[in-house]
């Protein structure tokens, strides 16, 4: 099993940035949980998804809806089977033509070298601003 270290996290982030579900899926436990702490009423991509299949399906939904414009890890902390990161992202929402720009915060948990949990937080103002603009334009 892979050691939980900076190299592993960079590999995972590279897969996320490229929406490479095959590589990302290799590191996901079957019963992993991914919680985007945005209610689905605010954006359908938010909420809790449990299980590798559901998480990969959401990655595909995100890839269908958004084009990544930029993706930069600002801070990465790793230790004792956990990791936390702040990632600056800019994405183009294909349907509305609006851009989402903001900092995404991730808290990872691992067991036996596999991802078992990912909690994802967004700046609430960034999300609300984006959804208002996107709704106006669609």
């Amino acid at each position: 099993m892979a050691d939980i270290n900076h190299d592993l996290l960079h590999t995972i982030y590279k897969a996320l940035q490229k929406r490479d579900t095959e590589v990302f899926g290799r590191y996901l436990a079957d019963d992993a949980r991914h919680h985007i702490h945005v209610p689905i009423e605010v954006h359908p991509i938010g909420g809790l998804r449990t299980g590798k299949v559901a998480i990969i399906e959401r990655m595909n939904e995100i890839a269908r809806s958004f084009t990544t414009l930029s993706f930069a890890i600002d801070d990465l902390l790793v230790g004792n089977g956990r990791a936390a990161a702040r990632v600056r992202v800019a994405s183009l929402h294909r349907i509305s033509g609006e851009q989402y720009r903001g900092t995404v915060v991730h808290f990872w948990t691992f067991h036996d070298g596999l991802i078992t949990g990912l909690d994802e937080y967004h700046d609430m103002g960034d999300v609300l601003g984006f959804t208002e603009r996107a709704v106006e334009r669609v």
């Binding site: 702490h37 938010g46 990791a83 915060v105 808290f107 909690d119 937080y121 609430m124």
Partner: protein, 138 residues
């Protein structure tokens, strides 16, 4: 250095749990910045505030408005000058009697033995549900 950073941040959490705001202030640099990534339009305690005095004023408002039923943090991730964790909190809002239960994400910056910045990220659904209930009741 990572150990010193961790020790400082754990002392801050201990002081905060006990509402010892004098001790909290002693562990902050004069130019401490607190940024709660919730728009003030959603909740008045959200947004950025600059300077130790402004941060303590904000934290005092939180401690006066809420009883802390429980406040637990995940194992702290620390590196020299940086730390991150998730906190699981249960607050009771005194005026309304409403409970606020949530998980939040914290990223800290430390310089010369003092905290200089805290970025706090919230579950958007928990905050908007709570804010909606409290507005209805008071």
């Amino acid at each position: 250095m990572a150990e010193q950073t961790a020790a400082l941040i754990l002392r801050l959490y201990d002081a905060w749990r006990q509402k010892k705001l004098g001790q909290v202030g002693e562990l902050m640099a004069e130019d401490f910045c607190l940024h709660i990534h919730v728009p003030p339009t959603v909740h008045p305690l959200g947004g950025p505030c600059h300077g130790r005095e402004a941060a303590l004023e904000r934290l005092t408002a939180v401690s006066e408005q809420f009883d802390f039923v429980s406040y637990q943090i995940d194992p702290l991730l620390a590196a020299p000058g940086r730390a991150a964790t998730q906190a699981h909190l249960h607050y009771l809002h005194r005026d309304s009697g409403e409970h606020f239960r949530s998980t939040i994400g914290h990223f800290w910056v430390v310089r010369e033995g003092l905290a200089v910045r805290l970025d706090e990220y919230h579950d958007m659904g928990d905050v908007t549900d709570f804010a909606g209930k409290v507005v209805e009741m008071i």
